[in-house]
Subunit: 380 residues, 2 copies
């Protein structure tokens, strides 16, 4: 990294050198060094990252990595990959010590200065970054702690929440009041590990569409319901999921998901938010939100509220059947199996804005209050 | 709309009943009424919305609607469409008077209560909304003034800007300081018509990727360069374009675009930001940003900064050749034709994060300062 900015920079991200993460990196390096000086062939055992090495743990409520490992040993054939893995971990160490960060894109381009260890394609550097992430996740260290940040920020927030952050300029503590953003809102940063929270809100409402978020925000539903609104904008980003998880954990408040009633909203958006996804089980401990419950729109709502619908497409039907057949989460919850069966039986889907049939603000005046009065009936 | 919330609601959006927009709606209605009571066949003449009815005006610097019109007359065959058009305008009037808004989705579902005038598909209601938008645009009225809002919000903002808005809760004026958002940022609302601005910033930097925005924000580039950072996140949304336009107009500051060096970044992102797009020329007067200039990454930068590149794909090559052959904007600017020719000759593209090859913060310490010192050399 460029000395100039690094030296002149406040410690804005972690605010500390994060000894825990540095220890995890040094641990791997020490094992390699020990073998190497004995003239042996050093190796690193990475967790296998695929569905075969994933199990659903109903107790803590999310997908977990199994014991499967793939060993990367230093040989003539693996010399380059091995070197790239070590360079990537060295970059992480440098980022922590310089209190900086790199996106996957950044890391790929950084490698162009690694001589023979440079990556030719970003998919190569992404894979190695994912391996390292899975490895350190065994020590409870996340990719954000390695200072590898996602490209995308984490969606919009409005309502009864004060965020405690650090001022990038002065390094001082700064508080951002999410009730004081006017008709605009607060954008979750790429990494939320360093954030603190102050709130008396009763729950977090995680909303699929930005349009519905804007309606609930402009009409200050967050005030009347004493809650925090988060716009996920479809499948929530890593930063958005981590933000909701940390906030819900720290403040011990429930998370209610408000999404379209279709297999995508149920299976892709809600399921990813709550239990994580199979091919990234090593993330679940950080990113899944076990305290999430499904407020709606439910298949039963389509009946109860006589909602306008669209016919299910083949892709919807396939997704719904997969969920019932192959998804350990839905299989372990009968109410979900019944709900998806009902959806398939009706052969239709409904968008959350379909409630506008009864008036643009019916969702605020009737639907949400009625639903929230019976939160024990939310789908698991 | 539901009485309950409407009555209890502050006038947070325009803060007034917007007589200008109501007059535009009443004008159309009056013409129809006049003909109808005489027993004639009322009609409405909508501007034709396609490239054949678009011209590039180098003076004001954007695409404009031509004189082409399509007349919608009330006949047996057009009765339903005609009724739907009037119902849609009535909805707009109701939204203005109730100080509310509706997205395209909302409006579609609202129509489910219009009896015979209900829409069967959203594409039908979208088309009619676009027709009405084109019609009132002749009076200088935008879709946001009709209270038809986009589904998507407008991207993230950080830096030397104070936004003057209205508090949705109290209705009072509220100021949001974009230097006081910590490592997070400010999300532009769906409509920005009612916002005011306070700033001494020298320019607005419109950034393609959220990853680059985060880097410039965390390292407070906005302070050292005295500017306002806006993350467009690819092709900017309506709200993002309108926000930049209103801010640049009101504060008379230039807009510098910082995007990937590829035909998509040049032709889709930058061109849309600056002059608008051909099939939506009626929007240009509101949404295009004529004061925008292209900071980079330029094809010449690839040479000057020895950037890592990717080969141009067929789609890139097609897009670049189209720009030179068919696009009145690029055709009217020789420096752009030369730049695109150079890109085609080299046969490669470069991402803005490719600068990370020289250090993650090379962009802050070297590239941007050097570029900004010679802003007169920016591409038009």
């Amino acid at each position: 990294m460029s000395k100039k900015t690094t030296e002149s920079r406040h410690s804005v991200l972690s605010g500390k050198k994060d000894p825990e993460t540095l220890a995890a990196i040094r641990g791997v390096a020490a094992d390699i060094h020990k073998v190497a000086i004995k003239g042996g062939k050093p190796h690193v055992a990475f967790p296998t990252r695929n569905l075969s090495n994933v199990r659903y743990n109903p107790k803590n409520g999310y997908f977990e990595l199994g014991k499967g490992r793939k060993s990367r040993q230093l040989t003539v054939g693996t010399a380059k990959t091995f070197a790239q893995t070590l360079k990537m971990m060295a970059l992480s160490k440098e980022l922590i010590e310089g209190d900086d960060f790199a996106t996957k894109r950044d890391a790929y381009y950084q490698s162009k200065n690694w001589g023979e260890a440079r990556f030719d394609e970003q998919v190569e550097s992404d894979t190695i970054m994912d391996d390292i992430e899975a490895l350190v996740s065994l020590d409870g260290v996340s990719r954000e702690q390695l200072r590898f940040y996602p490209e995308e920020h984490g969606g919009a927030v409005a309502g009864e929440l004060v965020i405690v952050d650090r001022d990038p300029l002065s390094g001082d503590t700064i508080e951002i009041d999410c009730t004081r953003q006017g008709t605009g809102s607060y954008t979750i940063p790429h990494s939320v590990e360093h954030l603190g929270f102050k709130t008396n809100a009763k729950f977090i409402l995680a909303i699929e569409t930005s349009g519905m978020f804007q309606r609930l925000h402009i009409h200050t539903f967050w005030k009347s319901a004493n809650c925090i609104l988060v716009a996920m904008g479809g499948v929530p980003t890593r930063a958005c999921r981590r933000f909701i998880r940390r906030l819900a954990d720290e403040k011990k408040i429930p998370v209610y998901a408000f999404v379209d009633c279709d297999p995508y909203g149920i299976s892709n958006i809600y399921r990813s938010l709550k239990v994580g996804s199979g091919n990234a089980a090593h993330l679940s401990q950080f990113f899944c939100v076990p305290q999430a419950h499904f407020l709606g729109v439910t298949p039963q709502d389509i009946v109860d509220y006589k909602l306008p619908t669209h016919p299910l497409q083949d892709v919807d039907i396939k997704r719904a059947k997969d969920a019932i057949k192959n998804d350990p989460f839905f299989q372990s919850h009968k109410p979900w199996r019944d709900a998806i069966e009902l959806l398939l039986k009706m052969g239709v889907r409904a968008e959350q804005q379909a409630l506008a049939k009864w008036g643009l603000n019916y969702v605020i005046d009737e639907y949400l209050p009625k639903k929230l009065a019976a939160s024990q009936r939310f789908l698991p």
